[in-house]
């Protein structure tokens, strides 16, 4: 999904060819780039954009699930959901910290999210309408996120790769708890199973869109691959996600809402893969550009949280200043 962060990224650089070649040689040798290392301006800008978008996605991603904490059907589910949402806040923090090493401040990034300059994953602009959505979000949305994030653990930028290692270690519980919710619903009453199927129907296509446009339409992918920010193309990752998920859906006894989904032995150089139906890219672009069901509400909630917390931040800083002045006087 974080390849969505590359949409519109300007990877242009004005460095000399010699500088760019030396940088590329380090990348090709699988050396990690650290914050104080020389790097092309385009590399830095691309990372700021992608990591910032990734961080925003974690933080905005707390909202659709936070919505269900008070209505979780049991204490066990409530504890799991609370822990998951808390993890996402932490993931946002790891990622903001990684972006900050590139010379952008937390305040700047927050302002860009609130004024709409910075984006977050399109998936969070869909509503979570029933309890089954908590299952489907964990299973599919976190599943798709993990598919994207595992290769990011090998990203050429050190702080991003290290943040992703922590995120991936924590994220696998998210997917498992989601799948377990789906399992419970699918073993329940016909109405519960129907609820699970409905959640899958609504979230399937938006999840496929998380991987971003088709490779041919993904203008900035090539440079990111060359710089090893990205290791696999959008379509490759989408294909892996589908292949992993189809079996899991079969086990649940649910139907993936794509009549054109078909296995083909000849894909992926003989390893096989699925053909899938046409993704509605007009919907994708509509949501990315701000016209999804939840776009306005999500940003309004983040803005309210930021504005309502302003006095706390100010009070904490004032208290710290007062204490250090007092200590200096003693």
């Amino acid at each position: 999904m974080y390849s969505q962060g590359l949409i519109g990224a300007d990877g242009g650089s004005e460095e000399t060819q010699e500088f760019l070649d030396a940088f590329q040689a380090r990348i090709d040798a699988e050396e990690k780039i650290e914050p104080t290392d020389p790097m092309p301006e385009g590399y830095r800008r691309t990372l700021v954009r992608q990591i910032g978008q990734h961080a925003h996605s974690e933080v905005v991603g707390m909202l659709p699930e936070g919505n269900w904490i008070s209505r979780a059907p049991s204490l066990k589910r409530k504890l799991a959901l609370l822990a998951k949402v808390q993890d996402e806040g932490g993931h946002g923090l790891y990622l903001y910290s990684a972006a900050e090493t590139l010379g952008v401040t937390r305040e700047q990034m927050t302002e860009e999210l609130l004024d709409g300059t910075a984006k977050y994953s399109s998936i969070f602009n869909y509503p979570t309408l029933s309890w089954a959505d908590m299952g489907a979000v964990g299973w599919l949305v976190d599943g798709a996120a993990i598919m994207n994030q595992i290769p990011l653990c090998r990203c050429s930028y050190g702080p991003y790769a290290r943040a992703m290692i922590r995120v991936c270690a924590e994220e696998s519980f998210h997917q498992r708890q989601g799948y377990e919710i789906m399992l419970t619903l699918c073993k329940g009453t016909p109405a519960q199973k129907e609820m699970a199927q409905d959640a899958l129907n609504r979230l399937w296509w938006p999840c496929l869109m998380m991987f971003g446009p088709h490779d041919g339409d993904s203008a900035h992918s090539e440079k990111s691959m060359k710089w090893k920010i990205k290791r696999f193309s959008n379509d490759e990752l989408r294909g892996k996600f589908i292949a992993a998920t189809v079996r899991q859906a079969e086990f649940l006894g649910l139907t993936i809402p794509d009549p054109d989904l078909k296995w083909d032995d000849s894909l992926n150089g003989g390893k096989g893969g699925y053909h899938h139906g046409e993704i509605d890219w007009s919907e994708f672009w509509r949501v990315v550009k701000g016209d999804g069901v939840m776009n306005v509400e999500r940003v309004e909630m983040r803005k309210a949280a930021w504005d309502d917390g302003a006095w706390v931040r100010e009070a904490a800083l004032a208290h710290a200043a007062k204490r250090s002045a007092k200590m200096a006087a003693e």
Partner: protein
């Protein structure tokens, strides 16, 4: 006063007997808030038994542009390593 909350680096001791290791950073207004946030963010799964938090601007770092000058001289000092010295096997483990 700047309205940006200061940055801290967080170090965690994973187990008794091990050294504190850098795990990441966070923003906090003062020492108490830094420790409390570090506990919430970095030790949710029993990752540690002790936390250090240090203001990032208090860290002194070597200049990456002088990395060669600083660290390359150690490269050819192989006599600082035990394997440089030949000891007959008959002597036994040393």
């Amino acid at each position: 006063m700047s309205n940006e909350t200061p940055l801290w680096e967080v170090f965690i001791r994973p187990r008794n007997g091990l050294a504190h290791k850098h795990v990441g950073s966070l923003h906090a207004a003062d020492e108490a808030l830094a420790l409390s946030a570090a506990r919430d963010v970095y030790t949710r799964r029993e990752e540690g038994t002790s936390i250090w938090a240090v203001r990032s601007d208090a860290i002194v770092a070597s200049d990456p542009a002088r990395a060669g000058q600083n660290f390359d001289p150690a490269e050819d000092k192989i006599y600082r390593h035990p394997t440089f010295y030949d000891i007959p096997e008959d002597v036994g483990h040393m």
